[in-house]
């Protein structure tokens, strides 16, 4: 293997942060205040390698040369490191004709446009977060631990997007969850932080359960867990789930009940990791962690995992139009609900948290359209969102750093005079988030709206898109027989999925649904602009006010914190325009194997700028900003305008639609009741039994102890009686 071959480089991307993490753990005490060095160096090196891979991949794909009119070729490169586990005889399986007899888990990494893009985002944003943390975490007693965790987080996430096997994906899905648990609970001596970490972990477990069951179902249905095609020992080709063989065949994906079940379980998993309704409750609480950790979780790692999973398994979803529609419904609903909650939050970081949930909802809404435009728009938004959300979080962290840990927006104001760099970069991030042209968020949001619009008004988007729903249906019909067969061999799976559910969900897939989703997204866009600028106005405008906690040294943050802010601000400003105008990201991603499936690729549309949608989006953003300005600009920066305006709705929003209370009443309290009962049974019944048995010897003892009187005569008498008994027994035996 060449030292700089793509496969070596691919292995290096996760390996370097892992080495960084291990070195930080090993040398943390020795390095002391320089404990960030191994982690930062590891992530930086991984970033460089990831960029090299991205450019190599771009050359391979031929970005710019490929027109939209001929379908993009799938480009992938798989490196199998070693066989993790081999169960059963592969050769015998080939003879039997059913591969379900043997099972092997190769530790295989893959590189394709989707992975390359995400690797750059993960390591890039991870690197900036790590650099920022040097300033932010300075002097914290857990300094080395923090960098080890960040490094491990980057490693897990890189592995998650690079793994070419569903089981590996599951492993690193869990690893990401564990890292997030450790980072959210970084200040574990604080009860809120420990609780938030536990909550994040437990809620994620629900999603993980979905992924586990989906993996089992995939194995039952397809007989393999590999993404790529593999050659078995006897030379037969085992088509991987997302391999070229299967992708070429439109009917190779199972629809119907089993397919829908798999997709819904994937959706459940994605909802857990990406904080979508109804599993979004962990994300706002995750703000208890250090701000750089929040930034990492929200921008580069963790929450993007759900988007990645759905994008990766696009062909599976295409076979189940109902499930796809549900993805969009969940996404758009989450986007709207989270945005509504975000409008009344007074904690700067919580505003951003709900904005993350909302933006992820956008991405899901876009994924759910099932068109190539939808998938690429979601990834596009993921990229731009990673830039501006990391920027906003770090900006919030910078504010918090300077305000002595206070993050309640009502307690400070006019900070633009104290921290000009933070204010300027935060403003850029906010403009990008609000979707103001020409900042990054505008273009990605425009594409998402376009993808939704194309499903709601198919006629308006030409021939290509008209084929999309029809193609989906034909696909579903074609795979129905296959699904039926699969259902007959795996009746449990079919029962699990529920026979009628697949078709019932498909009924949702009507233009009317998509129109509603489109309007929901547009309203969300306005709300996004509103809550973002409400936060900007409350924090940075108006008379300068500083809470007592900040003391007299409220100041701009050190360069290690402001430099990442400036870099991210630049990216937030130009990346959207650049990626959109050159159409490079979309054409690059189109070569991802998952997106070259006929069901996806047939929906390709010429790159277009939708003036009507752009105007609508901009109008929505403008309305939001104007309303925010009316309520909170300048002197009114901390007024209770929202509360007066919303009335009773404010209670609903401020209590986050009572999700936590409902979960508490429906799940937590009954579980606690059961736990109390179980504890009672354990303590009374089981322990009681044990105690009762223990009391038997004691009770016997109290009876027998009276023999031990201490009186010599009694002992002598006992001796005599004993002797007599022995003698009698001997005599009796002698006499027969």
């Amino acid at each position: 293997m060449n030292a700089l071959s793509p496969s070596t480089l691919l292995v290096l991307v996760p390996l370097l942060p892992l080495v960084g993490a291990i070195l930080t753990v090993a040398l943390g005490r020795v390095l002391g205040a320089r404990a960030h060095l191994p982690a930062v160096a590891g992530i930086a090196a991984a970033f460089v390698v990831a960029v090299m891979l991205l450019f190599g991949m771009a050359r391979e794909v031929g970005v710019g040369t490929t027109g939209h009119d001929h379908a993009a070729k799938p480009v992938e490169m798989v490196t199998t490191l070693w066989e993790w586990a081999v169960v059963g005889d592969a050769a015998a399986a080939g003879d039997a004709g059913s591969a379900a007899q043997s099972f092997s888990i190769p530790v295989a990494l893959r590189l394709d446009p989707l992975t390359a893009t995400l690797l750059v985002i993960i390591t890039g944003v991870g690197l900036l977060v790590a650099i920022y943390s040097i300033g932010y975490m300075h002097g914290d007693p857990g300094y080395p631990r923090f960098f080890a965790l960040v490094s491990a987080f980057v490693f897990s996430m890189s592995m998650l997007v690079a793994a070419s096997n569903f089981l590996l994906v599951y492993v690193f899905w869990e690893a990401v969850g564990a890292c997030s648990y450790l980072l959210i609970g970084f200040w574990f001596t604080k009860p809120e932080a420990a609780k938030a970490a536990k909550k994040a972990f437990l809620v994620n477990r629900i999603g993980d359960f979905g992924l586990a069951v989906a993996t089992f179902l995939l194995w039952m249905t397809y007989g393999t867990l590999n993404f790529h095609d593999t050659t078995l020992a006897d030379g037969t080709l085992m088509p991987g789930i997302l391999g070229a063989t299967r992708l070429a065949d439109a009917s190779a994906y199972v629809g119907g009940a089993v397919g829908t079940a798999i997709c819904l379980l994937f959706l459940l998993a994605a909802c857990g990791k990406s904080a979508q309704l109804p599993l979004h409750v962990w994300l706002p609480d995750a703000m208890e962690g250090p701000t750089p950790a929040s930034s990492l979780i929200h921008a580069a790692t963790m929450v993007t995992a759900g988007i990645y999973l759905v994008a990766r398994t696009a062909p599976l979803f295409e076979a189940c139009p109902g499930a796809l529609t549900l993805v969009s419904i969940v996404g758009a609903t989450t986007a709207l609900v989270a945005a509504l909650i975000g409008t009344v939050q007074n904690d700067l970081k919580r505003v951003l948290a709900y904005s993350t949930i909302s933006q992820l909802g956008y991405m899901f809404a876009s994924l759910g359209t099932g068109t190539l435009l939808g998938f690429t728009a979601a990834i596009f938004h993921l990229v731009t969102h990673a830039f501006f959300k990391a920027l906003l979080f770090m900006g919030a962290g910078s504010v918090m750093h300077s305000m002595g840990g206070v993050i309640d927006m009502r307690r400070f104001g006019g900070l633009r005079r104290i921290m000009p760099i933070t204010a300027a970069t935060f403003l850029v991030g906010s403009l990008a988030l609000a979707g103001v042209a020409p900042f990054a968020g505008f273009f990605s949001k425009d594409e998402i709206l376009a993808s939704l619009h194309s499903r709601g008004w198919p006629d308006a988007h030409g021939e290509h898109l008209e084929a999309a729903p029809a193609g989906g249906h034909a696909n579903a019909a074609a795979t129905f027989h296959l699904a039926f067969h699969t259902a007959s061999v795996t009746p449990d799976a079919a029962q699990l999925a529920g026979g009628a559910r697949g078709s019932a969900l498909d009924a949702l897939n009507t233009p009317a649904t998509w129109r509603i989703l489109f309007w929901m997204s547009l309203v969300t866009a306005a709300l996004t602009a509103f809550y973002t600028f409400r936060a900007v106005f409350m924090t940075f405008t108006g008379p300068t006010r500083v809470p007592e906690e900040a003391g007299h040294h409220a100041h701009e943050s050190p360069p290690s914190m402001t430099i990442p802010l400036v870099i991210l601000a630049a990216l937030s400003a130009v990346s959207g325009w650049w990626l959109f105008s050159t159409h490079s990201l979309a054409s690059f991603l189109a070569s991802t194997p998952s997106f070259t499936a006929p069901s996806v690729a047939s929906t390709a549309t010429p790159p277009a700028f939708h003036w009507d949608l752009a105007i609508q989006g901009t109008l929505a953003a403008a309305i939001g900003i104007v309303v925010a300005a009316l309520g909170h600009l300048g002197r009114r920066s901390d007024g209770p305008q929202m509360e007066r305006f919303l009335g009773p709705l404010e209670t609903l929003f401020a209590n986050r639609f009572f999700f936590d209370q409902i979960y508490s009443a429906l799940i937590v309290k009954p579980l606690e009741l059961i736990a109390t009962l179980a504890a009672l049974i354990d303590r009374r019944v089981i322990d009681g039994l044990v105690d009762a048995i223990a009391r038997v010897p004691a009770g016997l003892g109290t009876v027998v102890r009276h023999l031990q009187s201490g009186l010599m005569q009694r002992y002598a008498l006992a001796g005599v009686i004993g002797t007599l008994l022995i003698v009698l027994a001997l005599v009796a035996r002698a006499m027969g």
Partner: protein, 154 residues
Amino acid sequence: MNLLANTVAPSALVIDGLVVGAILFALGLVGILARRNLIVMFLCAELMLQGISVSLVSWSRHHGDWGGHVLVIFVLTVAACEAAVALVFVLQAFARTGRLDSAAWQSLRESNLPRTIDRELPAIDTVPPKFPKLAPAGVEPAADEDALHEREHV
């Protein structure tokens, strides 16, 4: 031994010996169980020992075997030693509590059992010990009346 064998029936002799031994043993046993005086109890134990010794000698004689005789000599020796040790214990016990009643010595019972009292033990009139006093130098010591009294008997 041959002389004896000629005059009395061998079986009669051994039976007599065994009967005497049994009577001695039974007396000792009853004494140990019934009496509470430590010295008497010790004597009764000795009595039981001697009862066994008698039967040993009888059997030994009956079988014409010296083994039993030798054993009895050993028993006597050991009993003598044991008597010395046991009497020291008894004396020490008496010195500590002023009692010879075995019922006074029941503290080796289960810790939380009450003391067994069938009859109240009589109170002990504690006589303060008398220590000889040195006479002041150069003065004739006062004559001790008791000593003088006893001196007459000596």
